[in-house]
Point group: C2
Chain length 285, copies 2
């Protein structure tokens, strides 16, 4: 495999480390590639210890800090994107304390995108159990003058991983979750006009959500907002690709802590192109 | 918390260590308690690293060996029951090599119970992805003169953990999985009369399976068979409790590697009685 620093890229293009507990974060990498097709990317999926979404803050912070240190100290990443809502919600401080480079999570850009869209200032957020319990989205929404109602949807990640992204069972599960969430909003006297997909697996269900939300509710995911924010922080003028253009493939190197075969097989579904050979990493977990 | 060896129990009653990646194995502990109400039990759920079902053999073997060593070396278990189909399928040898006490998995007793039931000698097995990929059930069936067809059902564990054990979505998912499995059996010219629930979460869905299987197919889970085999190996005359009798509660101590609150909350669903205070253990993962 070609070492990332010998790839034929201008030497000033930054090395961006992207980290997730699994491969869902590849939806964020996809958005980053579209915004910054000239950058070089390292992606680490801590697949031996996924999912983070059902674990405690202490455990998530330890796993995430170890993963960040691998990308920065061993792979020389100069900028980190935490492409995992759970780690962004529960471990951003721990990661920032663990490495000497800028670290960007997905929660704040997601809330900022919701603020830019919402006129009623009432926002719905769906995410994993741990992200919801942290109330990180509700707090980020509050900072943007929004009222956010959050709901954990633990069946959606397994449904995506089962490949049931266009399936009547998934439609039904999404309708049940949305029904419960909208009932809660109604009871609180809110009129939400924005639904934030607060988990990196959910963009694959975007069509299901778009046909299931009431008229007037816009579905946004934080991946695009995070990619634009990363470009701004890196001082890179975004050169977004046409959505139908092929993604550049040469500037990505992937690592996983377990089963590279499964990563290679499922990862391409999330990235929208083959993830290439994946290197196995032992983080001691 | 009362240390297990100061519990008021005859000194000759063995200390049985029961291990699972999560709390599903509490369905096996429940069966053990019914068979051997006088024994003392230690239960370890490696919840910081669950689920094992989607991980590789190497990783599962390492996690399981560490957990077994904790139960034997630090908690003085004299007999181990691996109440996790995935660890039994992929790591039984590694666990037996790691500790100096007898180790019993759930696969072999499950296959033996299927053999005792089946007259057509054709058996269906549903389990996690890793258990199915290992073909441990198919091989155990073959040793008993059975032909086993296995199927991974990755949505069932999340559905149980969401609490949707009596829910139309779960009924639908079970029907879809069974339909696919029966079609495969038909194509292979088989006439199965037995369905083995090869995952410790599945006994909670037993009523769903019983109303979904074709007439003449009997649903069995390996928990009871494993408990009877453990009693035999320990030389204990089984003194099974009446199924409606209250379970004895004093002789169980639980450990978890993550979030004891979640363990306490969900665990009682599987054990059928409060799991009591759970001790947090750090296995270094």
């Amino acid at each position: 495999m070609t070492p990332i620093d010998s790839l034929p890229t201008p030497s000033h293009s930054p090395i961006i480390g992207v980290f997730d507990s699994g491969f869902g974060g590849l939806t964020v990498l996809k958005a980053l590639l579209r915004q910054m097709p000239e950058a070089r990317f390292l992606f680490l999926g801590d697949t031996a210890r996924l999912p983070y979404g059902s674990k405690s803050q202490r455990t998530i912070a330890r796993y995430a800090a170890e993963s960040a240190q691998f990308l920065v100290h061993q792979q020389h990443a100069e900028f980190l994107v935490i492409a995992c809502n759970t780690a962004s919600a529960l471990a951003l401080d721990a990661i920032q304390a663990a490495v000497p480079v800028p670290v960007l999570g997905v929660i704040e850009p997601g809330a900022a995108a919701a603020a830019a869209n919402s006129t009623t200032r009432n926002v719905l957020v769906i995410a994993t159990e741990a992200t919801v319990q942290s109330h990180a989205y509700a707090e980020a929404c509050r900072r943007h003058g929004l009222r956010g109602i959050e709901k954990a949807c633990p069946l959606l990640v397994p449904l995506v991983e089962e490949g049931w992204v266009d399936h009547p069972v998934t439609d039904q599960v999404v309708r049940i979750y949305l029904h419960e969430l909208l009932a809660e909003a109604r009871q609180a006297g809110q009129t939400p006009d924005t639904l934030v997909l607060g988990c990196t697996h959910y963009p694959l269900l975007r069509p299901v959500f778009e046909r299931s939300v009431p008229a007037g509710v816009r579905v946004i995911d934080s991946a695009e907002a995070t990619a634009m924010q990363a470009a701004r922080q890196l001082g890179i003028l975004p050169t977004p690709l046409n959505p139908t253009a092929d993604l550049p493939q040469g500037h990505v190197r992937c690592f996983a802590t377990d089963s590279v075969e499964k990563f290679e097989r499922l990862g391409s579904r999330f990235l929208g192109l083959p993830v290439g050979p994946v290197s196995l990493v032992d983080l001691g977990g």
